[in-house]
Subunit: 393 residues, 2 copies
Amino acid sequence: MATSGEEVRNMQVILKDYVAGFPKESDMHVKTGSIKLKLAEDESSDNAVLVKNLYLSCDPYMRGRMTNSPVDDPDFSPFTPGSPIVGHGVAEVVDSRNPGFKKGDLVWGRKMGWEEYSLIKEPEKLFKIHSTDVPLSYYTGILGMPGMTAYFGFYQVCSPKKGERVYISAASGAVGQLVGQFAKLMGCYVVGSAGSKEKLCNFYATLLLYLLFDWRDLIERFNLEHVSWLDFDSAFMVYKVELLKSKFGFDDAFNYKEEHDLVAALKRYFPEGIDIYFENVGGKMLDAVLLNMRFHGRIAACGMISQYNLQQPEGIQNITTVVFKRIRLEGFIIFDYFDQYPKFLDFVLPYIREGKIVYVEDINEGLEHGPSALIGLFSGRNVGKQVVKVTNE
Amino acid sequence: MATSGEEVRNMQVILKDYVAGFPKESDMHVKTGSIKLKLAEDESSDNAVLVKNLYLSCDPYMRGRMTNSPVDDPDFSPFTPGSPIVGHGVAEVVDSRNPGFKKGDLVWGRKMGWEEYSLIKEPEKLFKIHSTDVPLSYYTGILGMPGMTAYFGFYQVCSPKKGERVYISAASGAVGQLVGQFAKLMGCYVVGSAGSKEKLCNFYATLLLYLLFDWRDLIERFNLEHVSWLDFDSAFMVYKVELLKSKFGFDDAFNYKEEHDLVAALKRYFPEGIDIYFENVGGKMLDAVLLNMRFHGRIAACGMISQYNLQQPEGIQNITTVVFKRIRLEGFIIFDYFDQYPKFLDFVLPYIREGKIVYVEDINEGLEHGPSALIGLFSGRNVGKQVVKVTNE
């Protein structure tokens, strides 16, 4: 790291302009500027913290902030075109004029710019990292917002009971993989689905597969003999779905893109219906689930990623079933639960250390690959929590 | 009444066949048969009760039972074509082989056939009427299912707090008028809407208006000078809407059929948004409400009457707002709360006796007018709880 006060390079991922429809890598550009690694010693920096970003988190909610629709909620306010996008991340404090933080502290929070160094003027909801015997990147995932989302979403919003039937969409993602494991810990029957919206057979996807996995091992473990060596799309999806069972202990799993009739698919996996649906997808998936819910079922609406890039959302046809099936559909935003973070940490850290809960991450190295990593979320290209490691040096 | 054992006339309202789309009077016909006013003294009548029906209740949920879609819930099982339709009602016990009931008991329940006399083989959820200092017809409304629906729906499902902003659709109906009064008792700000789907200017509607109201008094009280003497449609709607304020004490009220932009209309009545929506309508109304809900708002889904006659339900476009607004949308069916009936009665009877809660009924006299009364529900022809008085003799 450069000496304090010295000007150093500060690579940034800039949002060019507000986005309509499906975001593209070209909606952002990578710019190289510079920054002084010392805070100004005047009022302008009172309470501020200067951090070196280590890991940046790719989260579906960030899509909303790429649109210029004013919202009352500062957590969802639009990004500023011409400036770096902002999100959750893990960082090291480089300089601090805030009594709560000092140089060298490791922190995670939700105000990290997508850049090498960020000035955080109001470090609210910036958490100090005390446990470093787990990967630091976990604080963008299982030990950060997605972990809390899974924990409070499942245990508080879903009101689960032992033996209940739990369905999770986007189940191999940052949140879904944990909800499934929490549900298994509680003695529930758990089925997850995953899918991919676009053809993955491109250079990067192929490379990713070779880099991430021992191919021959995969072939053996998941009976991939029927998959052509060159059909990476299929192999990738088989892998992604099998992971839910083999790695996270789900009772069953399926690729929803292979099901032309989602209602029938869910009926097959839940012949007696679904008690709890952890909703990450929305649209047609929600409609199919509504027809398969049991009486007094609960739907925790964590997100509806399938709708975020649509100019006109898909209409939900089967909403009247909430009445006669007495369904509770409840939206929640994890930012409301941040004051309970220590309680969550006490719960989850022992499970990680004992290996009773596992966490899969999809880490792209280098800030310059940030835009592609973020965009990949919306086509289901990631396996597990999508993270950008800011530097691969 | 005829002597025990004697055969007497038993007029019945028969469902001709299952109904698709909007139900019509001609989907039913009135048939005159006969019945013996004494139960058979063999096993076939063990536990049975024979009743003379006094009041029959017209309820929106009955539309669902006119369709041949198998449901798991016996409360919503399809009617049998060729047999009388079945619903809630108030009756007098004529003969009983059930230890819980004796001749002369007044009862209300949900298994009354639309006929002069009904044989109830399994009188479960048949309640004895003890308080007769209030109109007996009230046991189809404020003291029966609609009353409990309003009470448990509002106090339990909506989790209301003093000062919250409450919106009620179908507010002049059997349930809505009570929810509004409960909300006012709690110190909420209450707005209701009412509407009518079809032209009401027909002979019966006109007659109804003349019969029900003192026309000159109406003109004065509701400033109807601008309404043409012959424009009964407009006058009727003005009356229906004004009733919400003048009779039930709502803070404001509007005719939703006059609003071409429901989103804007709700914004006008709730500039700071809606905390609680008591949902009776569904469809476009629900979509408009979702855009006007406040953070952490609650929607108690009591019914969605606008959707019951559609072959293909309207899609709900704005469901994603439940996520970022942290909205709880919860369906409920009052049949689940019947064991708490005595608690409800203890609450509501004193309010009725003290005149602190009022109840408006729309009573059609004569079973032969039953089909028209029931159909009128779906076009908003009723003002208040729609009841059929079985005999006008």
